[in-house]
């Protein structure tokens, strides 16, 4: 990788006393936030393609009604693993990768607070990833009970279930350590003069996300520990034969699961809040309200969990409470969307690839937010529970939300990370292919869900055939377009027009005061923030 040689050379110049190992050992033993950020990003890109390949298989099976390629069990393995790997293997690690690269650079810190912990946080991931993927090859196949791991299904499977629980445990430990590191870095290592309310928006969103991680990842660990002991050690937390209650798992799981949704979107908000002011050439509109909006979203995320469980049988009071709190989230989210739009207003807007991704994010994420409001309505949700409407909704917030913000962020900071400009023309082609293919894939799913097509089923009634074929064709195009993304990223890493310190004239955060790529040890002397 060119980055490594360039930044190593810089390091040698800056710190002659520094005996950095080279080759594989450099990456295995690195405590440098930039190296580790790079590792996180490559790891998540690999997992993105792996889980994406599973999605291609799902769409291939659903291309036509009937069972063509897979038996139902295998199909369920595909949907389960696609979800689990995309969430824990692709989106979360990539956001932590952004935090590793950007948080120290944006607050003027030399590195993360606990560099060795940082190394360990990352290197747990490949172990967990291998464990998770290897379940495809054990007797009985991979987990097939859905990424939400509901008992009793999850208590009945074979060895793959125990392996996956262990893998999720490891991923959770990694997330918690990463989150602690980020909190300490942000709270203790900001450059002199950078008060909390002067922090870049991306840093704010990650600070709040890290607190969410610290609060809810242990609850997930707790839920799956109970699953594990129910499966292997004769406890009866969720086992009804011993007086347990499977519905309780759903409560504990979603107490984690809903904040988890915001863990995946808040840093994406931060990325978009960084990109839009840059290319609108205006400061972010309503910075303070943005901070408070993120904090309120984080708070509300703890009191909405049961909206995932409206069909489990809940008294009217409970349904109303969770319906209203869920709808309340639209207010801080709406504030953010309006602030982004207000930032654009009368700006000198230019449409480079990161900006295109961010604008698509604002538009498409809002569609996902609206379908979320529809699902928050109890009577509607009871109809739409576990249909393709839900699948459409969460892909609008997770793909055109998180994933497209991440891609925009990659284009935005690639010049800083590598020192080269990416291929703008190919980047734009990638954007338009992604945005169009995404909508071809997922918009018809709204109609499928409204017409009653259930999710997680490999076969379907004939009236769903046309929309499924459209969705599959869109899906294949969407998958193929991401190969272009890989090509653009590799091309940029290998070379290109020199980026210079400040390739984006509207950017004003601290990382742009550094060279591109930044020296191996940046901000050895803290900058003074006025």
């Amino acid at each position: 990788m060119n980055t490594s040689t360039v930044s190593n050379a810089a390091a040698v110049h800056d710190h002659a006393h520094d005996h950095a190992p080279t080759g594989v050992m450099r990456w295995l033993t690195s405590t440098n936030h930039k190296d580790i950020g790079t590792l996180y990003l490559w790891f998540s890109l690999f997992m993105f393609f792996f889980a994406g390949a599973l999605a291609m298989l799902i769409r291939a099976e659903l291309f036509q009604p009937g069972l063509q390629l897979f038996q139902p069990t295998v199909f369920n393995q595909l949907t389960t693993m696609h979800g689990l790997i995309m969430i824990f293997g692709a989106i979360m690690p990539s956001l932590v990768g952004f935090a590793n690269w950007q948080v120290p650079l944006m607050i003027g810190a030399p590195d993360m607070a606990f560099p060795r912990l940082n190394n360990w946080s990352f290197w747990l991931l490949p172990a967990a990833g291998v464990l998770l993927i290897s379940t495809f090859f054990v007797p009985g196949g991979a987990i097939a009970g859905g990424w939400t791991m509901y008992p009793p299904l999850f208590m009945q499977g074979g060895i793959a279930y125990d392996m996956s629980i262990l893998a999720v445990h490891i991923l959770g430990v990694s997330s918690i350590m990463g989150a602690i590191n980020i909190i300490v870095t942000i709270l203790n290592m900001r450059a002199p003069g950078m008060t909390l309310m002067k922090m870049p928006m991306f840093v704010w969103t990650w600070l709040i996300t890290a607190f969410l991680l610290v609060a809810v990842m242990p609850v997930l660990a707790c839920a799956i520990t109970m699953l594990l002991t129910d499966r292997n050690f004769g406890t009866h937390f969720f086992d009804a034969s011993g007086g347990g209650d499977p519905v309780m798992f759903q409560h504990v799981f979603w107490f984690f699961g809903h904040p988890e949704v915001y863990i995946m979107i808040l840093p994406a908000f931060g990325i978009v809040s960084t990109i839009i002011p840059t290319f609108a050439r205006k400061p972010l509109f309503g910075y303070v309200s943005m901070v408070y909006a993120v904090a309120s979203i984080a708070f509300l995320s703890f009191i909405v969990w049961a909206h995932h469980m409206f069909t489990t049988g809940m008294p009217l009071g409970g349904q109303l409470f969770f319906m209203y709190t869920t709808m309340l989230i639209a207010i801080p989210t709406g504030i953010k969307v309006f602030n982004w739009v207000a930032t654009l207003w009368r700006g000198s807007i230019s449409f480079e690839t990161p900006m295109l991704f961010s604008l698509a994010f604002v538009f498409l994420f809002t569609i996902g937010g609206f379908s979320g409001l529809v699902l928050a309505l109890v009577p509607v949700d009871i109809q739409l529970q576990d249909t393709y409407y839900v699948v459409a909704h969460f892909h609008y917030v997770l793909f055109s939300g998180s994933a497209m913000a991440i891609m925009g962020g990659v284009y935005y900071w690639l010049p800083k990370w590598t020192g080269h400009m990416y291929d703008e023309k190919l980047g734009k082609v990638h954007f338009w292919l992604t945005a169009i293919a995404f909508n071809i894939t997922f918009f018809p799913m709204h109609f499928l869900g409204l017409a009653g097509m259930p999710r997680r089923i490999p076969d379907y009634a004939l009236q769903f055939a046309e929309f499924n074929m459209i969705a599959s064709l869109g899906g294949f195009l969407l998958g193929a377009s991401q190969l272009l993304f890989l090509y653009v990223v590799i091309k940029c890493v290998r070379g290109g027009i020199a980026a210079g310190n400040q390739p984006w004239d509207g950017a004003d955060t601290l990382e742009w005061t550094q060279t591109s790529p930044p020296p191996y040890h940046s901000f050895v002397t803290p900058p003074l923030v006025k």
């Binding site: 005996h19 950095a20 196949g141 203790n188 707790c222 009804a240 409560h251 504990v252 107490f255 049988g313």
Partner: protein, 207 residues
């Protein structure tokens, strides 16, 4: 390669914050487990999870009728009709079949009714099973009174045996006026350590 650099705050303040955050992690982990008893108490107080009052009697081990039937059947609300549906499932590990012979009943609250289920042992071993009831909507559970239920006791079945199991119940007139349909679902579980089939599911699950 830890380069000691001038950081705005000393390392000791990192440690203090680290300890606080680890305490938060530990608390959150403990909170997850604390949710279990909290959940049980909450459900007991509200009857939300569909556990019927009769199920409590089962834990005492009472099998037959324990109170005069006429006492509860005296107040019949003839103005209301409630549909009660019955269903039964056999959980993995128990090689039985279960069928609700009475699939649904239309009744007035306060009336005494009987529903029948049939179980059949498919295996060549004597097996003991235990049925666990669940009422939905959950709020109906506290007004669904079982006077006699096969779920109060463990049910032994000889190899290949078929048995009819009765359930005598009353839906109390105090039940919420907006409830028109009640579903009573039984799940039959194998009683542990009675046979060696406890580990059987691993095989048939996949084939």
């Amino acid at each position: 390669m830890a380069v000691s650099v001038a950081s705005p705050l000393p390392v000791s303040s990192h440690r203090k914050l680290l300890i606080k955050l680890l305490a938060v992690v530990a608390l959150a982990f403990a909170f997850g487990f604390a949710l279990v008893p909290l959940y049980d108490v909450f459900c007991l107080a509200t009857g939300l999870n569909g556990k019927t009052a009769g199920a409590k009697a089962a834990s005492v081990g009472i099998g037959g009728l324990s109170q005069p039937v006429t006492a509860t059947a005296s107040r019949i609300d003839a103005n209301r009709i409630i549909t009660v549906e019955f269903t039964g499932t056999v959980m993995p590990g128990l090689p039985w079949e279960m069928e609700a012979l009475t699939t649904s009943l239309d009744l007035h609250p306060g009336e005494l009714h009987q529903a029948r289920f049939r179980v059949h042992n498919l295996s060549e071993k004597p097996i003991v099973g235990q049925a666990v009831p669940s009422v939905s909507p959950g709020l109906a559970a506290q007004h669904f009174e079982k006077l006699d239920c096969f779920c109060f006791a463990q049910q032994p079945l000889a190899p290949g045996e078929t048995k009819e199991l009765p359930l005598t119940f009353v839906v109390k007139p105090e039940i919420d006026s907006d409830i028109r349909t009640i579903t009573l679902a039984y799940a039959f579980f194998i009683v542990a350590d009675s046979t060696s089939t406890a580990k059987a599911p691993a095989a048939w699950r996949w084939f």
